[in-house]
């Protein structure tokens, strides 16, 4: 445990060297919800219907913003590999007295804390400023979903960051992945209104699983049985990704 805390401490020291980062991390999601969400809310004339329930677009979009923020923090954390590699310290870390798993968990744990704070700010301010009606009794599940989402996407992206090695190539890869995952998901619109081929793609998308779980926990929209399966599938993806990330870290460096 002391090694995980040491990695977290190191992430904290680096993160707090720039207030710009902190400000961006904390307020980006709520700013996105206020600007983009309000715009679409007006465009949809105040609301949409999903799972047979009419809700405001802001309420629908809240979970999309939260899952997007988790994905964003995971991306920033994987970029840390490139910074560490450029500084040379990445390889030195791997000689420190810790397992590869501790290194990865420590690296994402601090960023999970950031995710939690930004999510609470987004939910709190969203409720206050946009009047989103929340299921506060589920807040623990929302926060658990935020942690799992941030960690899951980080572990998912880590093998790619370690194997691609070139910052510019990784950037291109992310743009493509993010573009496909984001628009073929339930982040911006309900999946049930999409055409068949896109619906299938969206249901198979882990970003949909994560967003649906957060949506169910925040505003109670969705079917419990379906969301439970989606949440379990995402948890499974997290575990497989973690195993694969550790394996990549152990075998794919300096060759």
């Amino acid at each position: 445990m002391s090694m995980i805390i040491a990695v977290m401490y190191r992430e904290y020291r680096i993160r707090t060297t720039s207030m710009t980062w902190i400000f961006y991390d904390m307020f980006m999601p709520i700013t996105y919800l206020l600007l983009f969400g309000i715009g679409l809310d007006k465009a949809f004339h105040g609301g949409i219907v999903t799972h047979g329930v009419a809700i405001s677009y802001n309420a629908f979009f809240l979970s999309g913003v939260l899952s997007m923020a988790c994905f964003g923090i995971a991306i920033n954390t994987t970029y840390g590999f490139f910074v560490d590699r450029d500084n040379g310290i990445f390889y030195e870390f791997l000689t420190y007295p810790m397992t590869r798993g501790e290194f990865l968990i420590g690296k994402i744990m601090f960023n999970c804390l950031l995710s939690l704070v930004q999510s609470l700010l987004t939910i709190g301010l969203g409720s206050l400023l946009l009047g989103i009606s929340l299921h506060w009794e589920n807040i623990v599940f929302v926060l658990a979903g935020v942690i799992l989402g941030t960690a899951g996407w980080f572990f998912f992206l880590t093998p790619f960051a370690l194997r691609i090695r070139r910052n510019d190539m990784f950037n291109t890869f992310l743009n493509v992945v993010y573009f496909v995952l984001m628009f073929a998901s339930s982040m911006f619109y309900p999946v049930e209104v999409l055409p068949g081929w896109l619906k299938g793609l969206s249901y198979a998308n882990p970003l949909t699983w994560h967003t649906d779980t957060l949506r169910f926990a925040t505003i109670g929209v969705g079917t419990f049985e379906v969301v439970a399966v989606e949440a379990l599938a995402f948890a499974l993806l997290l575990l497989i990704s973690f195993w694969f990330a550790v394996r990549t870290l152990r075998h794919a460096i300096l060759k």
């Binding site: 002391s2 090694m3 805390i5 040491a6 401490y9 190191r10 020291r13 680096i14 060297t17 720039s18 500084n87 040379g88 310290i89 390889y91 030195e92 791997l94 000689t95 420190y96 007295p97 810790m98 397992t99 075998h251 460096i253 300096l254 060759k255």
Partner: protein, 328 residues
């Protein structure tokens, strides 16, 4: 005799094993490093030094062979090995966005230095490595030499039994190079094992108790400095300055069994391997003819032995080594 701290047995590392052009970086290497000694690994670029260091520090796994660090298998128990080592890699490795002091604080966390001692140990290495004026500056703003100093100084904060130093003094000015060498000696006196690679042969000559020379992933020689030098025991470095250097004299000198022969104007620099008597007789004869203005002779250096071993290795049948029985 001290216990082995590092034991390398028949180590092989092949990169791109499944490709049509595999690279055999280590080829059956065997070495022993004893506790408390300063062990120097020498070899030219691509000899396999960095690959060996990466295996010893658990960064990569060997293709075959065995490595133990304090009797712990580096492949089967990498974490146990990492708990006993401290590493300065060839690449610069510092937290660029943190201050010098915070670099030490962060490093201390990873190496479980008791909280009450972190500050005092930090202050000690800051003073020892002359970093006082930069302690609160961000490392990104420092020169490359100072960055290297921060990186090297970190390992002297902790008490791990084995320190690996890969080209540790590269980029340092002479004053800091001296401070680093002194610190390495001090650590060895306290019983820590130091494993270093360097291109600076003078540094190895000055520091190391045992030296190994490798090439193409194979050991060419391994032993004490005297043992290594004895492998070039017939080598003499000779500098002769003549009033006039004739073609006849030049031919006579060229006929001697030299490993190095250079001449500029009236001065000849040569390294003679074997036939010292003939050399001395020739120099005496030339001196009697009043043709020699200045003579300088010195016995073989580590550098002479190094080059001679590399030269011989190029002509040696595969599978043989120079040192025979003298290596551990």
């Amino acid at each position: 005799m001290a216990e082995p701290a590092i034991q390398v047995t028949d180590l092989v590392k092949v990169y791109r094993e499944k490709s049509s052009h595999p690279v055999r970086a280590l080829d059956g290497l065997t070495l022993t490093v004893r506790e408390g000694e300063i062990f120097g690994l020498l070899g030219r670029n691509g000899a396999g030094k960095t690959t060996l260091l990466r295996i010893l520090t658990t960064l990569i796994e060997p293709t075959s062979g065995r490595v133990t660090i304090l009797h712990r298998d580096a492949v089967k128990n990498p974490l146990e090995v990492r708990k006993n080592i401290c590493v300065v890699l060839q690449e610069n490795a510092v937290e660029l966005y943190l201050s010098v002091r915070d670099n030490f604080f962060t490093f201390a966390r990873f190496h479980s230095i008791p909280a009450g001692e972190v500050r005092s140990r930090t202050n000690r290495v800051i003073e020892q490595f002359g970093l006082g004026d930069y302690a609160d500056q961000k490392v990104i703003d420092l020169s490359s030499g100072l960055k290297r100093r921060v990186q090297v100084a970190k390992v002297f904060m902790v008490d791990k039994p084995i320190i690996f130093l890969d080209e540790a003094t590269t980029g340092m000015d002479p004053v800091n190079k001296r401070a680093t060498i002194d610190a390495i000696r001090e650590q060895a006196r306290r019983g820590r094992t130091i494993f270093l690679t360097t291109h600076i042969l003078q540094e190895a000559e000055e520091l190391c108790d045992t030296i190994a020379i490798i090439d193409h992933g194979k050991r060419l020689a391994c032993g004490s400095l005297q043992q290594i030098k004895s492998l070039a025991r017939h080598a003499l470095d000779i500098t002769l300055t003549f009033d006039t250097l004739t073609d006849a004299t030049l031919s006579e000198l060229r006929a001697l069994p030299s490993t190095k022969f250079e001449h500029t104007d009236n001065t000849v620099d040569m390294c003679v391997a074997g036939g010292e008597v003939a050399v001395l007789e020739l120099v005496a004869r030339l001196a009697r003819q009043q043709r020699v203005l200045h003579v300088e002779m010195s016995s073989a250096t580590l550098e002479d032995a190094f080059f001679e071993l590399l030269r011989k290795s190029a002509h040696r049948p595969p599978g043989t080594t120079e040192d025979g029985g003298l290596s551990p």
